[in-house]
């Protein structure tokens, strides 16, 4: 009897401990779903602030970015694929900015998982990344985003009331910049 009760007690504790702890998700945000709840620091750089349509300082949430769709690249300065893909992602940014239909509607940001501000800065400088990059030095956001491998791209459609929906959630490099932008534009009802 005593042994049985002890097992039950252990089992109960086991269930408590194995359940998802706060701030953890089972996997990456699914298409049709929502982003986990987190904030990023408002960039200090004025041009980046303007690009994102943010003001002041402190923290913001991705759906607060002034855009129809935000593409979030989960990367790491230390990831060889992200390094290799950097020129293509830059190209995607340039194509968006050069396209009157997409410009101002689709915005790009990157989250450097396990990267300090210094390390994100190294990546930005090395590859002349023209869009804002944010550090995640303690892997906090990486955990929330399902500990995906890198690079990983998440498309987030933002509604006028700042509600949002994930429209793309996929691992790996672009097949082609054009195809990627086409997919995003269509899912954002821009084309």
């Amino acid at each position: 009897m005593m042994r049985r009760m002890l097992w039950l007690a252990l089992l109960a504790w086991g269930m408590i401990l194995c359940g998802p702890a706060d701030g953890r998700s089972a996997g990456p945000p699914p298409v049709g779903g929502k982003l986990p709840d987190f904030t990023l620091g408002v960039p200090k750089d004025a041009a980046e602030k303007t690009y994102l349509g943010l003001s002041g300082s402190g923290a913001f949430k991705i759906p607060q970015i002034r855009a129809k769709t935000v593409v979030v690249e989960i990367f790491s300065m230390y990831c060889p694929y992200c390094q290799k893909e950097a020129p293509n992602v830059n190209k995607a940014y340039e194509r968006i900015e050069a396209d009157p239909v997409l410009r101002g509607k689709i915005k790009l940001i990157g989250i450097g998982v396990g990267n300090s501000a210094f390390e994100v800065g190294v990546f930005k400088k090395k590859y002349n990344v023209p869009f804002p990059l944010f550090p995640d030095s303690d892997f906090v956001l990486h955990k929330l985003l399902g500990e995906v491998r890198t690079p990983y791209f998440i498309g987030v459609k933002i509604h006028p009331d700042e509600s949002h929906q994930v429209i793309r959630s996929r691992l790996g490099a672009f097949e082609s910049v054009e195809k990627f932008l086409d997919e995003i534009a269509k899912a954002s009802d821009l084309k």
Partner: protein, 202 residues
């Protein structure tokens, strides 16, 4: 009786709850696909240093993946040297440490420094592994045979035969100026290493 059980149960729970949360401190690049072996969380450090800051760095000569033999002595009077020991090929943290160093050659150059990467893996393993990282600008040396001899000289060979995740900064005179035997589960900060290289200029 019930009370005793409650106490035992609470004790077990309390012990489990105060155990440090096992944190993964890596993000895998898709470059390696599913080929990374995760050894789990290991004892932070597991060796005793045999060298110290201010002391002379023991010389060595090891075979590089490129086929040449590289010695520490060949840089004497010419370059500052950063030695990066990483525990093992095809493991999570190690697989992204060197690709990071690979994009900051300019920072090493600016500090007149060369980087030597060392593991106890054999050359064929190092060849396949480092091929996934793109073209590396620094030599990758194999301390495979006699197994871990150089790591042992420096006192960074762990009891299971792999090395610590350790960084040594050695100046042009061959004097050790900085040592970081890092928690094996975590990647050392690039900022700290670069700060140490900057200090050599003073």
């Amino acid at each position: 009786m019930k009370k005793r059980l409650m106490i035992i149960s609470c004790l077990v729970g309390a012990v489990l709850l105060i155990m440090p949360e096992v944190r993964s401190a890596f993000a895998l690049s898709d470059a390696y696909k599913d080929n990374i072996y995760n050894p789990g969380v290991l004892k932070a450090t597991d060796s005793a240093l045999k060298v110290k800051v201010g002391g002379k760095a023991p010389d060595f000569a090891l075979k590089a993946v490129s086929g040449e033999r590289v010695s520490l002595g060949q840089f004497r009077g010419k370059k500052n040297v950063v030695i990066s020991f990483v525990p093992a090929a095809w493991t999570p943290v190690c697989s992204d440490q060197w690709p990071g160093y690979n994009i900051v050659k300019e920072m090493f150059d600016a500090n007149d420094a060369i980087l030597l990467g060392i593991t106890v893996d054999n050359i064929p393993t190092l060849f396949s592994w480092t091929n996934q990282m793109g073209r590396l600008w620094f030599p990758v040396l194999s301390d495979f045979w006699p197994h871990g001899a150089v790591a042992k000289k420096y006192g960074v060979l762990r009891s299971d035969g792999v090395t610590e995740r350790a960084l040594f900064v050695i100046d042009k005179k061959g004097i050790i100026r900085y040592i970081d035997v890092h928690d094996i589960n975590q990647r050392p900060s690039l900022e700290v290493l670069m700060g140490e290289l900057e200090k050599l200029k003073k």
